[in-house]
């Protein structure tokens, strides 16, 4: 009987990490059959250990500790030193996660003399966790090395050793060795059916990828891990923290904050204090980067206190850094603050946080300049400029040269830095990841813009904003278009390129004979007016009976954005290049744009590129009617009757994609959706599911003109100017010349009315921008915008339309 109970309890321990709920049941049944103090006491000790490990897996660290304490005290009173040491072995890990890594190491020392050699190896695996949490990564690797030799064929612990060693190596920056460890861990876990360890290993591969700067892998695997960890709240929360770290690295602090807001309470509830301290540190970073210094300070203070209590001196300077940055945002700098900044830089360096220390050193140099402490600033900049090379080196060099009056040299440093950032980002095929990857270059781009603004010259500012747009969304190189070519191409039209610099909105106005710079309103005023106008337009289109006064809002926005340049623009056709929130503005609704052809482009160079692709496209007109709309069929029929030879294609994803690759003009009448969090998941509803922007990336020869006759299809999120992400932006980046799409919800019947007039005008040779302006004027239906290059008449199959193609569009 004794043997049986002990064997059953041992089996529960075996099960506890693989199948925690089964282990709980088995361990409880063992405990029901034995009572403390009787000869079966040994089985009870083991059963409590099984309960503890299972509780840990299920995310209840305090309960796990309670069970282990019980196991230890039972073992000690029954004089079972080996069993007590085994329980302590498990306690090492739990005490670490509860926030006492230093004490965990003491517990390990107490347990070691009573353990078998294999168990000592297992102890080493647990010690590695405590050491890594204390920042003693090299020692952690050493313990895992020794454990691997001694563990033999205990696959579970071998996998654990690989996992812990791999993670420690990530922190040491030994990425290749780390990858080998994590891959081996995943293989072992997969072979042994340890799904849970497998998930952890796979979840840490993207953590490694993120640390290396390879974000696509990070995003994909974290999404997978989210579903496989759904039963393990504390593990899931830890995973969310890892993803949040990757998101912060990808300059998506807002998204990171959402995840951390979920993870922090879960970790607190689980008692996972060690992970909680790190989560609060990340949260503080996310809060700081989303412009919330008050909260960032609170979170950083809590993180700093936790880290100090846990003896984690390696991470402590990171909390100090956030506190200092929050203070910089909250108040004017002082000599005292500067001194603290420089101390923190040293602490960060000593703890091995080189990138953070370099960025903070640059901030310190800027503070020194503000305070007039020029020698200090010079010293810090010289330090940065002579080391590296990275973006901060370029920033420091540029600032040094600008201070010395060498504007040309400063621009050269900015250009060199932007070229490096752009070259790094071209590795990403996914436009969303590319757009985020270049954001590392934003400080440089801002500096270039600031210098350009100081010249007061429109041409210089245009060149620098275009260079950044080219890096973010175009060729990846900081190239600016030829202004003379641009002026000539515009003909009678005017191009207005909006540029945001800090809280200021500036415009460059380009006409045939002039490039002028205009300073406009504060940017937030324009952003809020845009949100109000969109709100009004949406409510009007939703017909909920409370349509607010649109005219007043539109007039106000027009004053803010065009002010004094309105007169100069007259009734010229307009090419508009938006920035930030202005990507969501339906420009034709401004009163001055009534009847005026307006085209919205991602940049002047992008507009020019659209103009250059004026070759006659082979392929005719294709119309598609999506499901669930009363007027879609009629609209597709209308397109067919407007353009002889037009083809109807059923609303199947495969057929539509094929048609998009062969047709010259495609009209899609359907339900549309914009996904603000992942703009490439924006889509058009078809019979067999949505056609998403991601699906379009497979197209080789997209149509010259795409009409997206649906809600919100022109909406874009521009993580960096020059890379508007969404359906329209995707078509254009793939080579479509022009996209007509909506920026708000549009009504089914009204859209049919508008599109009927629009296609009639297209068929008679009017280019899309003019046709849209006229159609909106005649029908009074607003919300649609012409994107890309809208002055190219369309080959529609009707006799005479092809000759129109040979006309100069200006």
């Amino acid at each position: 009987m004794i043997i049986d109970a002990v064997a059953a309890a041992e089996h529960a321990v075996d099960l506890s990490s693989r199948a925690p709920t089964r282990a709980l049941a088995l361990a409880r049944s063992v405990l029901r059959h034995v009572s403390v103090g009787d000869p079966h006491g040994e089985a009870a000790v083991i059963a409590y250990r099984a309960l503890a490990v299972a509780a840990r897996e299920l995310g209840d660290l305090p309960l796990a500790e309670e069970h282990l304490r019980q196991a230890v005290s039972l073992a000690v009173s029954a004089d079972l030193p080996h069993r007590a040491a085994q329980a302590r072995l498990s306690l090492v890990h739990i005490r670490t996660e509860l926030g006492h890594p230093q004490q965990a190491l003491t517990i390990a020392d107490a347990a070691e003399p009573h353990l078998t050699p294999v168990e000592v190896a297992k102890l080493g695996v647990h010690r590695a966790v405590a050491l890594a949490r204390l920042g003693r990564y090299a020692e952690a690797v050493g313990h895992c090395d020794r454990a691997v030799e001694a563990l033999g064929d205990d696959v579970g612990f071998l996998a654990g050793a690989m996992l812990n060693r791999g993670l420690a190596r990530v922190f040491l920056g030994e990425f290749e060795a780390a990858e080998a460890d994590l891959t081996r861990c995943a293989e072992l876990a997969r072979g042994a059916g340890l799904d849970h360890v497998l998930t952890l290993a796979e979840g840490n591969l993207p953590f490694l990828a993120a640390r290396r700067g390879d974000l696509p892998a990070a995003f994909t695997a974290y999404r997978r891990a989210e579903s496989s960890l759904s039963g393990y709240p504390e593990r899931l929360a830890t995973m969310r923290c890892d993803l949040a770290e990757a998101l912060i690295a990808a300059h998506l602090p807002g998204e990171a904050r959402v995840l951390l807001d979920l993870a922090v309470p879960e970790l607190a509830a689980a008692g996972a204090n060690i992970a909680l301290a790190e989560a609060r540190l990340l949260l503080a970073q996310a809060e700081l980067h989303t412009g919330d210094p008050h909260l960032a300070r609170q979170s950083a203070e809590r993180a700093a206190a936790d880290l100090a209590a846990q003896g984690r001196t390696v991470l402590a300077p990171l909390a100090a850094e956030i506190l200092l940055r929050a203070r910089l945002m909250l108040g004017p700098p002082s000599g005292e603050l500067l001194a603290e900044l420089l101390l923190c830089v040293e602490a960060l360096d000593a703890a091995g946080h080189r990138q953070v220390s370099r960025a903070l050193r640059f901030a310190a140099a800027e503070v020194a300049l503000q305070l007039g402490a020029r020698p200090t600033a010079d010293e810090q900049l010289a330090h940065l400029a002579s080391s590296g090379p990275d973006v901060v080196t370029r920033q420091a060099t540029a600032l040094q040269r600008a201070l010395a009056g060498d504007r040309r040299g400063a621009f050269a440093a900015v250009r060199a830095g932007l070229a490096e950032v752009g070259a790094g980002a071209t590795a990403f095929e996914d436009p969303m990841l590319r757009a985020h990857a270049v954001r590392a270059g934003e400080p440089l781009a801002r500096f270039g813009l600031a210098l350009a603004l100081k010249t007061g010259r429109g041409r210089t500012l245009l060149a620098w904003t275009e260079r950044w747009r080219a890096v973010a969304g175009g060729p990846g190189r900081p190239v600016a278009p030829d202004v003379d070519e641009l002026c000539a191409a515009l003909g009678d039209a005017a191009l207005v390129e909006f540029v945001r610099h800090a809280d200021e909105l500036v415009a460059v106005v380009v006409t045939r004979d002039r490039v002028a710079l205009r300073r406009l309103c504060p940017f937030p005023a324009a952003a809020e007016a845009t949100v109000r106008l969109r709100y009004g337009l949406r409510r009007a289109h939703l017909l909920d009976g409370r349509a607010p006064g649109l005219a007043g809002e539109a007039a106000l926005l027009e004053r803010l954005l065009f002010g004094s340049m309105r007169g100069r623009l007259g009734d010229r056709p307009l090419v508009i290049v938006p920035t930030g929130a202005l990507h969501t503005l339906p420009w034709p609704i401004l009163p001055m744009n009534a009847g005026r052809p307006v085209t919205v482009a991602a940049g002047a160079a992008a507009w020019l590129a659209g103009r250059r692709t004026r070759a006659v496209r082979e392929g005719g007109v294709v119309a598609v009617a999506g499901p669930g709309l009363r007027c879609a069929e009629a609209e597709a029929d209308m397109v067919g009757s407007c353009h002889p030879g037009a083809e109807r294609v059923t609303a199947q994803r495969g057929e539509v994609l094929a048609a998009l690759d062969r047709a010259g003009v495609v009209h899609l009448a359907a339900h549309g959706t914009f996904a603000p969090r992942s703009p490439l998941l924006s889509g058009i509803d078809l019979d067999d599911g949505p056609l998403m922007a991601y699906d379009l990336l497979r197209l080789r020869t997209p149509p010259s003109l795409v009409v997206l006759s649906a809600c919100d299809t022109g909406m874009a999120r521009a993580p960096a100017d020059g890379a508007p992400l969404g359906l329209a932006g995707t078509f254009l980046s793939l080579g479509s010349q022009c996209v007509v799409a909506s920026l708000v919800p549009v009504r089914d019947e009204e859209t049919l009315t508008l599109m009927t007039v629009f296609h009639g005008l297209l068929a008679t040779g009017h280019p899309p921008a003019r046709a849209l302006a006229m159609a909106s004027g005649k029908t009074g239906v607003a919300g649609f915008v012409c994107f890309g290059y809208g002055d190219q008449p369309v080959a529609t199959g009707r006799e005479g339309s092809v000759t129109q193609l040979d006309q100069d569009p200006t």
């Binding site: 602090p253 109000r532 939703l542 909920d544 009363r630 909506s742 919800p745």
Partner: protein, 153 residues
């Protein structure tokens, strides 16, 4: 969440000492309590959340995030959109209140005040997700505050 965190012995003793007046209330507890107390608007009328009808006849399968709060004589409509993990809030107070009215969008940690347009519209961009309340201050009438609502992304 697996279970609410249980109170340990140390915390229990600390709580007993506090309630017995032996220890002062820690500064951050008092500050947090004051901050929450400060969010009260005892004189304001509360506008409560009411249902909005789903829009029909539009070319979107999306649910728009429209919220409506109604008090006896005033309705506050809100639309929530999000970009980069931050929230843009646009809305309208109807009927448009008298000249000089303004709204405050309050979160737990910051308050943004805006003048209302003549048609009663307002917008605030870049708010953190979380709890918020909109207060409409009117020169001649009592203020109206929407019930606290949580925006999740």
């Amino acid at each position: 969440m697996t279970h609410p965190p249980s109170i340990d012995d140390e915390s229990l003793i600390a709580a007993l000492r506090l309630s017995g007046g032996r220890d002062p209330v820690p500064a951050h507890v008092a500050a947090a309590a004051q901050a929450v107390f400060g969010l009260r608007l005892p004189e304001a009328v509360t506008a409560r959340s009411t249902v909005t009808t789903a829009p029909a006849g539009i070319r979107s399968s999306d649910e728009t995030r429209l919220l409506r709060f109604a008090a006896a004589e005033l309705t506050v409509d809100l639309e929530v959109t999000s970009m980069d993990g931050l929230v843009d809030l646009a809305g309208q107070v109807s009927p448009p209140p008298e000249a000089g009215a303004r709204v405050e969008v309050r979160t737990l940690h910051l308050t943004e005040a805006r003048e209302l347009s003549p048609t009663g519209q307002f917008a605030v961009t870049g708010l953190p997700p979380g709890w918020f309340s909109v207060v409409c201050h009117r020169p001649e009438h009592s203020s109206v505050a929407t019930s606290w609502t949580r925006i999740r992304l």
